[in-house]
Symmetry: C2
Subunit: 450 residues, 2 copies
């Protein structure tokens, strides 16, 4: 799974470190892309990581590597550096990354860094620290390239020359005299316009923007929908306070997908590689509680039918298939809803229509599998009544499960919770209980009839 | 969930259509962003959709709307247009979008379009149709802005003026005299360099590229890792054949996340809103087959322990909790692996280490819940032996499930399958069977002992 190019890099560094030729390591690192060094660091042993990190000579380069590393791996690396070097690194780092890193470092290290940083830069970072982690403010960079509408293209290009500190310039945001955002022009617009035009003349006035407290997912949705390279962040008076670039949006999308999948699997924030077994247990334990309570209720239900069960012990054999298959149908429905809600294809307003369609699907699947199981059990176990009970239960249960699997994520979404939370503990557990009730109710009904 | 701006748009169009003032609809549409029109179309009723689509006057605008609409919704819209208009629209469409659309349209419509399109443009599209849908070739656009290394910045900017047909220019790809890709320069580089320099002087030579048959996920990973706005696609001789822009990469990420979640939920390619109930049943039916077979095997297992079961009917009551809770642990482990493999955090090379850590987590969770259940069942059902059996089964089963949930996705990944495929039918089903075997084996063991 490791790209060959990176495998070679890892092996070479390994060999060079063993031979103790640090000069060569330095040279190699200076020619390596920060993202690749970050990858390398995550695949070295612990003693080696710090060594290699310290051998990155150029502080700008080292800062870029920091931006690429998983934040939680950074603390031990940064801890090995002295205050002067730390200041240098954080001075060269985009302030949104700096803020993210400082937010999670042990206070002792972060305090040292903040006091060491130049006052201006440090203020910028502190300003960013005030926004919620999952908001537009939390992922924006305050460095934006802005031009007044009366400036000519020539003047703007000259300003761009001087704006070395702004790494990401994809658009020129145009403001009026009171500094309100009124338009946007692309670099291509600048390149292909006569230099004496003003940016006010070439700008597009329909600018899509977000405010600092907009949810990061919403910002990602806008960037994706309108195919943007960056989106400006404005305050209530439409003054620009920052921008979010598309590379940060991609990180948001990755994060959201991971969150959805772990929540759907009922695994919370578990992370087998990066956290200790103990903290993994702590993350996963509560999700299983719901399942335990559900299971105990199901046990009560079955126990209350003990009279029926003692008459026909074979009934017990089909408990797994009845609750297993209807649970699966429910999980299918929930997965479809969760993803549909995340991509915006499903809207909570359409509940009626969606429930009807999912109900049809559940009913069809139920009838199909009900008939199949009726036939199979009749032959395999030569038990006609039980076959009928199981077939009928499967049909009813699947219809019911499709409803529950569809309905619960929609309700979660309406109430403002993440719908992905609903499958792990909620949908599966409630289907276990209801599945047992339906199965045994039908069983006593049929067994009394015959 | 609909943004207020778009809700107003939908309502206004509704009202205007009802009043029959088509001129006003035309005006409104001409001022609306293509992405918003696409959104609007998907929220109108069927008769209205075609009407509104036809009221988009400018063919370029109409082409942009087509690029934004879900491809499967396009057929009925395009079918209402005459050949002349179709040619115009496809002429104005980026050829990667055109190829994607043509690939799924009914042959009768796509043939009409291909013959109507100008020969040159049509060839370009046909060339794209040859690449696999999920490869870099399948999502690239062949329109790339290329400059020879000896050209000056001034000449390149002039060429950019004339390159109107290339919508997305984020980078200038630099080639040598034999047309091999040798470097890249950003638009900002062009803007901030003296016009008499050659692009060969200002380019970066370390260009990250992919080949046309590279998997689209790999291309997405590279763009994300190196924070690129576009990545060039080259053939074996490093001639540029196209580029993939970051907006298409975002689409890939959305698609992959959707695929993973639906596969994990065992829902295949189901899509409740866009497809018929019948085709949803067809997509979901096979995933349930595995679950059925697993359930029938579990039934056989339980039936073979009927002697034990008839002695202690209460055993049946705890079947749901034993298989439910261990199934959940397995799903947790699988979700963590699936996401870890997708983000590259987990590598198949580390199998030993990961299995050990997950084993520890499973064992800890098992012991915790085993003890809790032992206590609860002893009190709630006043059944000491059964409490012991269930507690012990939960402990063994959770350890075992953590192993299976971890191991199976890793094996799937090693064999080249999507690990997300493993949870739906495989992990849950095998845990149902093994869970029953372990539970009843322990039960007969304990019941014979006492």
């Amino acid at each position: 799974m490791i790209p060959p190019k990176l495998q070679i890099l890892i092996d070479t560094i390994h060999t060079l470190l063993k031979r103790g030729v640090e000069r060569n390591v330095k040279n190699l690192l200076s020619q390596t892309h920060p993202a690749d060094i970050a990858f390398l660091l995550q695949h070295l042993e612990e003693g080696e990581q710090e060594k290699v990190f310290q051998l990155i000579e150029d502080p700008t380069h080292q800062a870029e590597v920091c931006s690429e590393i998983e934040i939680k791996d950074l603390a031990p690396l940064l801890d090995t550096l002295d205050t002067v070097r730390l200041r240098e690194i954080f001075h060269h780092m985009p302030s949104d990354d700096a803020a993210d890193i400082l937010a999670v470092l042990p206070e002792e290290i972060s305090g040292r860094i903040l006091t060491a940083m130049k006052e201006a830069a440090s203020k910028e970072v502190e300003a960013l620290l005030q926004y919620g982690e999952e908001t537009a403010g939390g992922i924006m960079t305050p460095k934006v390239f802005i031009a007044e509408e009366t400036k000519t293209v020539r003047e703007v290009i000259e300003a761009l020359h001087r704006a070395e500190a702004i790494e990401m310039v994809y658009y020129v945001y145009v403001v009026d005299r009171e500094n309100h955002l009124i338009g946007v022009a692309s670099l291509r617009n600048l390149l292909t316009t006569k230099p004496y035009h003003t940016v006010g003349e070439i700008m597009t006035t329909d600018v899509i923007s977000v405010s600092a407290d907009t949810d990061q997912e919403e910002a990602a949705r806008l960037v994706a929908r309108y195919n943007l390279l960056a989106i400006p962040v404005v305050d209530k008076e439409r003054h620009i306070v920052g921008q979010i670039t598309v590379d940060d949006i991609i990180d948001v999308l990755h994060e959201e997908a991971t969150e959805d999948i772990l929540r759907m699997g009922g695994a919370g924030e578990a992370d087998v590689l990066e956290k200790s077994s103990f903290s993994n247990v702590r993350a996963r334990f509560p999700w299983l509680l719901a399942s335990m309570i559900g299971g105990l209720i199901a046990a009560q239900v079955i126990n209350s039918f003990s009279a029926t069960l003692s008459k026909v012990a074979l009934l017990a054999a089909f408990i797994p298939i009845v609750i297993g298959m209807s649970g699966n149908v429910g999980t299918q429905s929930a997965a479809i809803m969760i993803r549909g809600l995340a991509t915006g294809k499903v809207r909570t307003a359409e509940i009626g229509h969606i429930l009807f369609k999912e109900g049809c699907v559940g009913a069809l699947l139920g009838i199909l599998y009900g008939v199949i199981l009726l036939a199979v059990i009749r032959v395999q176990f030569s038990a006609a009544t039980i076959a009928m009970i199981v077939g009928f239960s499967i049909a009813v249960n699947m219809l019911f499960s499709a409803f529950v699997g569809t309905f619960v994520p929609l309700v979660f979404a309406r109430l403002g919770f993440d719908p992905a939370l609903s499958t792990g503990p909620f949908v599966t557990t409630s289907l276990d209980i209801c599945g047992t009730v339906i199965y045994f109710s039908l069983a006593s009904l049929f067994l009394h009839l015959t």
